[in-house]
Symmetry: C2
Subunit: 200 residues, 2 copies
């Protein structure tokens, strides 16, 4: 329990560089082909520096993925266009192309990670899909509160539809998903399920 006192202090900045390099590499080659040697090279670090912080490759990737999720979404930060359809359209529009590219690549890379253990799969799923579901849940609940969506709608279930189908597309079929397809899904499945009149 005695935190050793002497010696050179650990540079927290190296953690960031290593995790960033891990995430980049994960998007490019996937978990299986990610090597700690390459992570070290890109981070400008030694392998010892990595293994001093994380006991295994799995823990390293887990930490890197965990960083992605960030804070849970808050309603105040979400789009507010006046209609649920508009809110969802705004939600699907990627903030920056880089963000979009990264989450797509990470999802692809995670496919191989999923096979390692349920524990890793859960963490990955939570980090990637969880915030997306929660954002939709908040938007839908607000639509219920303002009367756009009839009360009693099963928001929790419907909020899972597009994230699940997106994850399926990326992880299983391995095809990209574009915003038009997502909006088609919203018009054909999500809004009818919530008993919202279709547009046009």
């Amino acid at each position: 329990m005695t935190t050793s006192t002497g010696g050179r202090p650990r540079d927290a900045g190296r953690d960031v560089a290593i995790l960033e390099a891990t995430l980049d590499l994960l998007t490019e080659v996937g978990y299986d082909d990610l090597t700690t040697a390459e992570v070290a090279r890109r981070a400008g670090a030694g392998k010892a520096t990595i293994y001093r912080r994380w006991p295994s490759k799995a823990e390293l990737v887990l930490a890197a993925v965990g960083r992605m999720g960030g804070d849970p979404p808050r309603l105040a930060d979400l789009p507010d266009t006046g209609t649920l359809r508009g809110d969802l359209a705004a939600l699907f529009r990627p903030q920056t192309p880089a963000d979009d590219e990264r989450s797509l690549g990470v999802m692809r890379g995670l496919t191989s990670l999923l096979s390692q253990s349920p524990e890793l799969a859960e963490a990955a799923s939570n980090a990637m899909v969880g915030p997306f579901v929660e954002s939709q849940r908040l938007l839908m609940q607000r639509a219920v509160d303002r009367g756009e969506v009839p009360d009693g709608a099963d928001v929790a279930t419907v909020a899972r539809v597009t994230p699940a189908m997106t994850a399926f597309r990326l992880a299983v079929e391995r095809r990209p998903v574009d915003v038009d397809e997502l909006m088609h899904l919203v018009d054909v499945v999500v809004l009818p399920a919530l008993r919202v009149a279709p547009p046009g």
Copy 2:
């Protein structure tokens, strides 16, 4: 082009034994941890016998998975209860527990296969998810034809919802899916999307 004539003929029965063993092992340990040595041991075969038929582990697993799909579903073979909801309920009820266990296990095992190449991913997806989607599409189209579902419904899109969410649950979240949950999804999402009045 000259098919050599002499020599001991190849025993087609070994193909079956090897592919069965491959499928079994795939459900148990997944693609990454599947070794050709263990496949050979379970099939009571030599590794040479495997590699004489399939040039690589990937091709072997691909052949094993391809066997699963079988013939495309035909409307005459699908349940016909009089209502779309009843048909879907009958579709979800597994024919035999063994079938159910196997497809669940294979989906789990395939998670790691998906990361290998888009080609393998596509084959796996087609074999596993394709028939499920097609069955639902046929049932929904029949419901349209008999007037239970309004014309103009986007059957092709809605038919993908539960297969995608099932695959997502199995492959990404790695949790089992039970029939009650699927029927809840039918009542809350699928039927409303098709403009069918909810039961009760």
